[in-house]
């Protein structure tokens, strides 16, 4: 899932300063699961903004709405009948959703209420950690399911480096060394000989280096 963090309240309140009719948009997908932009978080932010503005003596009207997905035209289109009733849209969806709503309603200003952070998992209730950087050329078969691109701070392919100490990364003592995890996994599976294979330089052309990426499946196009 895409994991985000809510922007500081001061930043949000500064962004909406000029506006008095706000559409506050949430998303039922990833940002709901990582508890940053679902219906609950939309309600809390709306309440905070109302309280702040009421106290300032500049009351604000907020429409709270959570779409099934903000990255799908099917749902984004449903905003059509109401979006023009509002001065501005604050979106609690991920960066994709924020942009997609903006692309489809070009006369509207879309403001982000979250900082989209990473692709990750829910390690435990309330804890999310990064697992994938979407490099476009998966090597998890070689490393037994532990991603060296994401889990190693240097994205090394023949690690670990000298900064690995007691299984931890030199970047932060709370971050496990990705390559230590990989070696431990090789041992666990009795496949330590795989560790001896030297990995050639990775082809990064499928990653961000080539600009925004695109995927097309002709058979699905209507």
């Amino acid at each position: 899932m895409i994991v985000a963090n809510r922007k500081p309240f001061e930043e949000i309140i500064e962004m909406v300063k000029p506006y008095s009719r706000i559409l506050l948009l949430g998303c039922n997908e990833c940002v709901t699961v990582c508890a940053v932009g679902g219906a609950k978080e939309v309600a809390v932010l709306a309440s905070e903004v109302r309280l702040f503005r009421q106290k300032e003596g500049r009351p604000v009207e907020i429409k709270e709405l959570t779409l099934e997905r903000n990255c799908d035209l099917e749902y984004v289109e449903t905003l059509k009948p109401i979006i023009n009733d509002y001065d501005v849209v604050i979106s609690m969806a991920c960066g994709c959703g924020i942009q997609f709503v903006g692309e489809n309603y070009r006369n509207k200003i879309i403001l982000p209420a979250v900082n989209t952070s990473f692709e990750g998992v829910t390690e435990e209730h309330g804890v999310w950690t990064e697992r994938c950087q979407g490099c476009g050329n998966c090597v998890l078969d070689k490393t037994l399911g532990i991603c060296p691109v994401t889990r190693c701070a240097k994205s090394l392919f023949n690690g670990p480096c000298g900064g690995s100490q007691d299984g931890k990364c030199e970047v932060d003592k709370d971050i496990p060394c990705g390559w230590q995890l990989i070696v431990d996994r090789y041992k666990e599976m009795n496949m330590l000989e795989k560790y001896l294979e030297i990995q050639p330089a990775k082809d990064w052309s499928t990653s961000r280096d080539g600009g925004p990426r695109k995927r097309i499946r002709e058979d699905l196009k209507i």
Binding site: V44, S47, E48, L51, F52, Q54, G57, P59
Partner: protein, 130 residues
Amino acid sequence: MRLSYPTNIKIMKVPCTGRVDIIHVLKAFENGADGVYLVGCLEGDCHFLTGNLRAKKRVEYVKKLLDETGIGGERVAMYNLSAAEGQRFAGVAREMTEKIRALGPNPVKKQWSSNQVANPAKAGLEPSNP
């Protein structure tokens, strides 16, 4: 016991303080409450094991939100007492009332009453017989 406690307190019953969400507290302030406090069971005595501990964390979180919005996190509190502590319940009610009275009215209510209500006493926003 026939104990008395301040009449300005409105009790909202919930099955467990673990049911209380951030939005419930914020809505209370939006609707003009001057303060909100949660009265949960003693720590370790929750029938649902951790309801009161969750409530405690949420109170801490909502305090931060209220500080950010300028309402003031000190208007929210959490108390833990057992069902046998009637005396303490009344004491807590008095303590909280005094604390909130010292802080003054909810700043949102002040704006709301002066902006939109011609006669706050009539609208039930201020005590009619102080």
